[in-house]
Subunit: 297 residues, 2 copies
């Protein structure tokens, strides 16, 4: 049973004529006869009344109903890839908590305005988890800290973040090793790339193993920092956006520790649905506006 044959069957049922059906599907009448006959032989049932007016038999009518379901699914699938201008379908994005909170909203807003027919799904998590999701095909693209080494993926430097030390009291210089040792550090759960920077920072201050508490959400973490529970390390933009809600203070870190880039990573462009391709384009435009020097690989 071929979709072509079913389309002809539906056309015959619609038009009430083999010739008209042929014309509608840009073929000739003899082919319509052949296709219908083949369907009938395959199913062992007469599908079309030929004597007198041409019209579907009750068996034909029943098949037409299924044919319409199949054909509409087919047409919808084709429009996923060949939709003119307007993409549709689904876009699954993975991103870090901080990226989702600070960077994504304006981009998603612009994308949704351009492609209103795409369902957007966001999953948040630390970098290591996101990479896993991407490799397993559970998301279509991710925003992660650091370029993905894996060769067969497309990376685009999306955002440059500057990490700052966040504490509950004003700071003018790095806290002493003693202070760092006795304080706790607050970080996202295992796999968060910012957490590695905390460890780098502690090492640079000659402190080897501070206590690290794990948090799942940004709000909880900042709340605890404000309450004097300890320090954390976050992108400056993220802290600035929340500063009015919490009594927190920041201290710039040395560039080697502070500078960290967020990359947009997705499989090779050849595998992109129009929905994803359009998102990458939206992102590239947004990045160019904010930061003219961009790097793709």
């Amino acid at each position: 049973m071929q979709l072509k044959s079913l389309r002809l069957l539906v056309a015959v049922a619609d038009t009430g004529s083999f010739g008209a059906a042929a014309k509608r599907l840009h073929t000739v009448q003899s082919n319509v006869t052949t296709h219908i006959k083949k369907l009938e032989e395959e199913l062992g049932v007469q599908l079309i009344h030929r004597a007198g007016r041409v019209r579907p038999t009750s068996a034909g009518l029943a098949l037409v109903e299924y044919a319409e379901r199949m054909l509409s699914a087919h047409d919808e699938a084709v429009s996923l890839f060949k939709g003119q201008e307007k993409a549709c379908g689904r876009l699954r994005i993975g991103a870090m908590e901080t990226t989702t909170a600070l960077r994504l909203p304006p981009i998603l807003a612009a994308y949704h305005a351009a492609q209103p027919d795409v369902d957007i799904q966001i999953k948040t998590g630390p970098t290591a988890e996101l990479v896993e999701l991407l490799l397993n095909g559970q998301v279509d693209c991710v925003f992660v800290a650091g370029r993905l080494e894996h060769g067969r993926y497309h990376s685009l430097k999306a955002f440059s973040e500057q990490l700052v030390l966040v504490g509950s009291t004003p700071m003018t210089k790095m806290p002493s090793s003693q202070a760092l040792l006795t304080s706790a550090f607050l970080a996202f759960r295992q796999g968060c790339s910012y957490r590695q920077r905390i460890e780098l920072l502690l090492a640079s201050q000659g402190v080897n193993a501070g206590r690290i508490f794990e948090f799942g959400s940004l709000d909880a973490m900042l709340g605890c920092v404000a309450a004097g529970m300890g320090y954390t390390v976050l992108p400056r933009g993220t802290v600035d956006a929340h500063q009015h809600r919490f009594g927190i203070h920041t201290l710039a870190l040395p560039a080697s520790i502070a500078n960290i880039d967020t990359y947009f990573v997705a499989p090779e462009p050849e595998t992109w649905t129009p929905a994803l391709a359009s998102f990458a384009e939206t992102l590239r435009d947004a990045v160019v506006v904010n930061e003219p020097q961009l790097t793709a690989s």
Copy 2:
């Protein structure tokens, strides 16, 4: 885009290997490659990651979802016609009010027991309307009074009915012409074949145009007869079944007027779905039990 290709795509996504997909669908690996490649060319998107583990790209995953919808619709459609033993789908039956009330229940019960997966739909109406429904393909088969002359239909004598005169008082002989003239006659709406018999009866008694009231339901009609509103003509079996509910009395009519056969009429057997073929068989069995001499044409 062919169903065959989609089935291969699903198999590749399932098994994670072109070779295994080929084996599952009884073909060779090179054909799988060709089909997938053709799909990819047609849609302009890579559907399967080949490097490393073979697995669908996000575009491929999206297509697989639609492919599964199309294939399940296809398989369901095929099972409509090629279902082993158990028919499925829908069976639309048209029948007269009296047939539906008296004759159909045991047959439908037997049929439903044999084919529990078939949805049964009953439409009731007078013979003329039922024939119209059948000719328009709005029902799959009908039970009507009298054989359908139309050559391209299959007829089977299903039930023999004996019409009786029904009134509110005991009768031992035909009411006088005078009584008939002053009484009303109650019948189903235009197109009912029993109604023609009423007119025949009146004509045979030398009465040309009695008043005839039209009713839509059997219960209403019998209730009005019992209330002394007038006479009606119905199959004996139907009246017997309702006699305990109404105070009504019957009188046998001359055979030429009384005997009327109910026929099962459907399009040619070549156009039958398994659901309809199985129903015809159930009916034939039931008819043979009740009345060994049956006539098919």
